[in-house]
């Protein structure tokens, strides 16, 4: 290595906005994630999309044989499998994004000490947060693509519009990942994370995933319509049959707002999350 000279020791300040949080090097975080996946857990990563497929096979085929057809978003009767498939894709986008932005981030922060070593370099916390979110979305994209192919193989896709489910699933994942990372900044113990899982369960079961909302009394319907998962389920269900309306825009807007709120929260909480 070269000798250190006095001139090397006079630094000039960087005047960019966010200079204290961001070093324009998200790419390094993404590269690290890809190399780590290749080295350590590619098989587990790939198998992640199996769970919604199992649900689709079990409930779509097994239960579907008993239920027959149900009313789709455009009023026509569709098979039960075709009814729940977009909902399962939405749930898997939510689960994946929340898992990556809560459990995984928490583990890498407190146990693997990964962020500790990243932040002793010229990376800023915003580089790390954006990189991790990008990786979560990349994973969400792969799973959504895989699931859509399974749907097509089962004959559940009848229109090209259904391909739009993939980018929509990524948007949904983005919404949950950005909020999830903000939530993680308040988490102190693993037990608190169990509560995140605990809250996801009723949202998964109640958000018109397996049966229409009309089962519930009106106040409960309002409550569920306020929650994010329902908007995702409805959005993907509409895309799956290519039936659009005003509500399609409302669902999209809901997620765009969620991303904005989530990213604002996460950026504000970066110091609390990464710099203690």
């Amino acid at each position: 290595m070269s000798l250190v000279r006095d001139a090397d020791l006079q630094l000039t300040a960087d005047r960019r906005p966010f200079a204290s949080l961001y070093s324009r090097n998200v790419r390094a975080v993404i590269v690290r994630g890809l190399v780590a996946t290749k080295t350590s857990n590619a098989a587990i990563m790939i198998s992640g999309f199996v769970e919604p497929v199992l649900y689709l096979l079990s409930m779509g085929i097994g239960l579907g044989a008993l239920i027959g057809t149900v009313q789709g978003p455009d009023g026509t009767e569709i098979s039960y499998a075709a009814y729940i498939a977009p909902a399962l894709l939405t749930v898997s986008a939510m689960n994946g994004a929340l898992y990556d932005s809560t459990m995984n981030v928490f583990f890498k922060m407190n146990y693997a000490k990964l962020y500790q070593n990243m932040l002793y370099t010229s990376l800023g916390p915003l580089d790390v947060a954006l990189g991790e979110i990008f990786l979560a979305l990349l994973r969400g994209f792969l799973y959504a693509t895989g699931f859509t192919i399974v749907m097509a193989a089962m004959g559940l896709i009848t229109t090209w519009w259904a391909l739009l489910m993939v980018p929509a699933a990524v948007l949904i994942a983005f919404g949950f990942a950005s909020i999830g990372m903000g939530i993680t900044s308040y988490i102190r113990t693993f037990q608190q994370l169990d509560w995140v899982t605990f809250i996801m369960l009723p949202m998964f079961l109640f958000s018109a995933t397996f049966y229409p909302l009309s089962v519930y009394p009106e106040p409960i319907q309002w409550l569920i319509q306020a929650l994010p998962l329902w908007h995702g389920v409805e959005l993907l269900r509409q895309l799956s049959v290519g039936s659009f309306g005003v509500m399609t825009a409302v669902h999209l807007l809901y997620y765009v707002l969620m991303v904005i709120v989530g990213m604002t929260l996460t950026t504000r909480r970066l110091r609390a999350l990464f710099l203690k």
Partner: protein, 312 residues
């Protein structure tokens, strides 16, 4: 120049004792750690050894149950919330769709709620077992090394294994009892024998859990095996064990999943017990035998792996 005595931990100064130069202390109460002057005498080592032989498994179960107190709030929330949410979503929400479309005959004359309640109960026991017998077991050897502390006492590796298994069994029994109360609250069990589903469901938990325990104990390098178990064993067992629909509804090439699944055997037993589902007596006996064989075999295997790993 000064002479002073300081406590190294606090930096506080004490008065120096007056006597010079002192003979050694043979006069009973003197300063120094209380331990060296204690009047508390433990029972003889032979008694410790005898008690360890008889009650060791219970001592270790106590250790694990005390550990669970650290997350008692989530254990309780899960035990109460899980049945509420599942029974409501599946037994009422989904049931409205199923009962309207399938006609009365599909579930042997009972409502969909009654049909799935014993299945959900047994599945919950299996899922708790899947949670408690995975990371916690490996961590006992690898991360927290909780098994190595007792190993230095009169307890044996077999008891260390059994103690952990017993603690989890107690948790599953308690959780299943709570579950049953909520099932009754939903009016989803009608028979006077419904209480016995606590036992059959818990049996599903240990029949699945003890072989898993043996597997977890054999893991030396964690490479995501538990995620794979969750995805490729636990989820299929929940979804394809005649839980949400009769096993016969599945195509023939998938029905074997139910036959090997502890959840299916416990669910069928549960249906007999909770609403009098008609099944030949020999088949019920077979269910019980199968579950006992899995649990027993798992325990024998787990004991061996523990002994090999802790003493090998």
């Amino acid at each position: 120049m000064s002479s002073q005595q300081r406590d190294p931990a606090t930096g506080e100064r004490d008065e120096p004792p007056a006597t010079v130069p002192v003979p050694s202390s043979s006069t009973g109460q003197r300063d120094g750690p209380a331990y060296l002057n204690s009047r508390l005498v433990p029972h003889p080592p032979a008694t410790s050894a005898a008690k360890a032989r008889r009650f060791g498994t219970w001592y270790l179960a106590e250790q694990h149950l005390r550990g669970m107190r650290g997350y008692l709030d989530i254990v309780i929330a899960y035990s109460v919330g899980n049945p509420l949410v599942y029974l409501f979503a599946m037994g009422i929400g989904l049931a409205s769709l199923v009962d309207a479309n399938s006609g009365g005959g599909a579930f042997g004359g009972v409502s969909y709620l009654q049909f799935i309640a014993p299945a959900l109960l047994a599945s919950a026991a299996m899922m708790t077992a899947a949670g408690e017998f995975s990371y916690a077991v490996m961590s006992g050897f690898k991360w927290w090394k909780t098994y190595y502390g007792p190993l230095a006492t009169p307890l044996t590796p077999q008891q260390i294994c059994q103690g952990h298994a017993l603690a989890v069994t107690i948790r599953i029994l308690a959780q299943s009892a709570v579950y049953l109360v909520i099932v009754l609250f939903f009016g989803a069990a009608t028979s006077g024998w419904a209480w016995a589903t606590i036992i059959t469901a818990s049996l599903a938990g240990v029949a699945f859990g003890l072989p898993l325990m043996a597997f977890s104990a054999s893991i030396t390098v964690e490479k995501g095996q538990f995620a794979l178990v969750q995805r490729f064993i636990v989820m299929p067992l929940f979804l394809f064990s005649g839980t949400l629909f009769p096993l016969s509804t599945l195509p023939w090439f998938l029905q074997w999943i139910g036959w090997i699944s502890p959840v299916w055997h416990a669910t069928e037993l549960g249906r007999v017990l909770s609403y009098g589902y008609a099944e030949p007596g020999w088949l019920s006996a077979l269910h019980v035998l199968y579950l006992l064989a899995l649990a027993g075999g798992g325990l024998v295997l787990a004991r061996r792996v523990y002994a090999r790993r802790l003493e090998g």
